[in-house]
């Protein structure tokens, strides 16, 4: 059964140094508040998994929380590079970052087989590419029925999955809608699941085929309004495109990034305080 707790308590109890952590959300419902809390609590040596490591993983990597990243597309969507990610890969700053690179299709399949308690995923897309040359976990298997040779890749089984959703009821049943990405699979593939939601409601009022995660597959649920900002929560608020563009400037140089990280994350008490700073024009003027 999911327990309603504060985000600080959920991260303190659920995420340990050295854990494998998957925070998912495909452009939509990205768990920024939870990522910030991990930075605030100074977790180290995390093996991070995410199909599209965007700003939140750029922040975690720049803050020194990660030792490894498994991913399939690492950029600032619609803007360009992730500078902290690139600085870690190209210059080992703030620490060397081991990378395990796969494709979207591979990671999506690997979450599915993780959720299904199978050891590996099977797919076609790598044929002829250089991936297997740099990632020895991309191997091949021969179909016992047709003889076709297919790529075989290990399932994703994180210690902790963290996602953001729109609603949860008082029991901790969680509802998400819109672009739902691989969140359901990530939760079912993980040993522990922490879910932040926009609001706690009396009843989900969900249609029979809606994407609902029953309370008993969730470890902790936390009410964090705007917890996906600057990404968006369908039906609640829109994507803060300006922040994504501004991040390109904030993150480009180490000093400026560290200054932002200290002021906005490490020295704020929680996400609501961070959001207050985001709305403060005097603070923002410094970063434009």
């Amino acid at each position: 059964m999911a327990e309603w707790v504060s985000l600080a308590e959920a991260i303190a109890a659920g995420v340990r140094d050295g854990d494998t952590v998957a925070m998912e959300g495909f452009t939509h419902l990205i768990p920024f508040a939870a990522g910030h809390e991990i930075i605030r609590q100074k977790r180290r040596d995390l093996s991070l998994i995410r199909m599209t490591p965007d700003l939140i993983y750029d922040q975690l990597i720049g803050a020194g929380c990660a030792k490894k990243l498994t991913f399939s597309w690492g950029g600032n969507p619609g803007v360009g590079s992730l500078h902290r990610f690139r600085d870690a890969v190209e210059n080992d700053w703030p620490a060397p970052l081991e990378i395990e690179e796969r494709s979207h299709s591979d990671l999506a399949n690997a979450y599915v087989t993780g959720a299904a308690n199978l050891p590996f995923a099977v797919l076609r897309g790598y044929t002829g590419s250089d991936f297997a040359r740099v990632n020895d976990r991309i191997r091949s298997i021969t179909c016992p029925f047709t003889g076709e040779v297919l790529a075989a890749t290990p399932s994703v089984r994180p210690d902790v999955a963290i996602i953001h959703a729109q609603k949860a009821d008082w029991k901790g049943n969680v509802l998400l809608w819109g672009i739902i990405g691989v969140q359901k699979e990530a939760v079912l593939a993980a040993k522990t699941a922490i879910i932040t939601v926009e609001e706690r409601v009396r009843s989900l009022d969900a249609a029979p085929n809606a994407c609902v995660l029953p309370s008993w597959v969730v470890t902790a649920v936390c009410e964090v309004p705007r917890g996906a900002s600057p990404s968006y929560a369908h039906g609640y608020y829109e994507r803060d495109n300006l922040f994504y563009r501004t991040w390109d400037q904030i993150s480009r140089e180490r000093d400026r990034f560290m200054c932002w990280l200290n002021q906005h994350v490490l020295e704020t008490r929680d996400f609501s305080e961070y959001l207050k700073l985001q709305g403060d024009p005097h603070v923002q003027a410094v970063y434009q």
Binding site: F26, T27, H28, M51, T52, F71, S72, W73, G74, G75, P77, G78, V79, G80, S81, L82, F85, R86, V89, E90, E101, R102, S103, H104, S105, A108, N109, Y111, V112, L123, R124, G125, Y126, T127, G128, S129, D130, F131, V134, E148, V149, G178, I179, I180, G181, V182, K184, E185, C211, Y232, H234, E238, R239, N241, L242, Y244, R245
Partner: protein, 261 residues
Amino acid sequence: MSSSFTADEIMTIAASRMLRNGAVCFVGIGLPSTAANLARLTHAPDAVLVYESGPIGAKPPVLPLSIGDGNLAETADTVVSTPEIFRYWLQGGRIDVGFLGAAQLDRFANINTTVVGTYDKPKVRLPGAGGAPEISSSAKEVVIIVKQSKRTFVEKLDFVTSVGFLHGGDSRECAGLTGKGPVAIITDLCILHPDPVTREMKVASIHPRVSRDTISTNTGWSIQFADSCTETEPPSPQELQVLRDLKARTAAAHGAQGEAA
């Protein structure tokens, strides 16, 4: 009647013409998304736009800034999960055309979006594969949209992220890839099609006001021109109008320069 147009405009318009009405198109963000939406708003109103974030049949009123913008979900016929998009719809063989961009490509239209330099100590760490390897292997046809320069059109790729015709000839078929591969590369200078035998990409159509010399000097290999090479039909006033309106609407909606590449 000739209207003035930019190199970017003719590239986008030429790419949009590759999408026939009713085709199911897997769309990447940036130039591919602009071209596919232009097609939908001009000659291909029944084109089905599929985005890897899950929307099927998206009809966004303005260009999305990211691959998972809310207006894609709101205007789609249905929105499915990411595993479903890749498993049932793409690998399942339901995509007619995959529209891709590229950071580097070679004469056989193999694509690199991974690293410039060596993998372990890259000069430039690029975003990586995303959905491209599966699109390039499983879509029935692939169209690549990319600006042409020596930096982009290279003799040898630093990393093969997504395959085109591999080493040319029948090497793609022999490798067991299901889709037909790249049928065209659309650039700001010209249109390339694969040679039917060698599968090397050859210039088939040159955009107005562009010389063969310009194309050669912006290519990192000795590029060949097809015997039947012609001039690209210039953008029609209607195509230009719809494209410019779309960009203006997008800029107004996003409060800035519009969709980034």
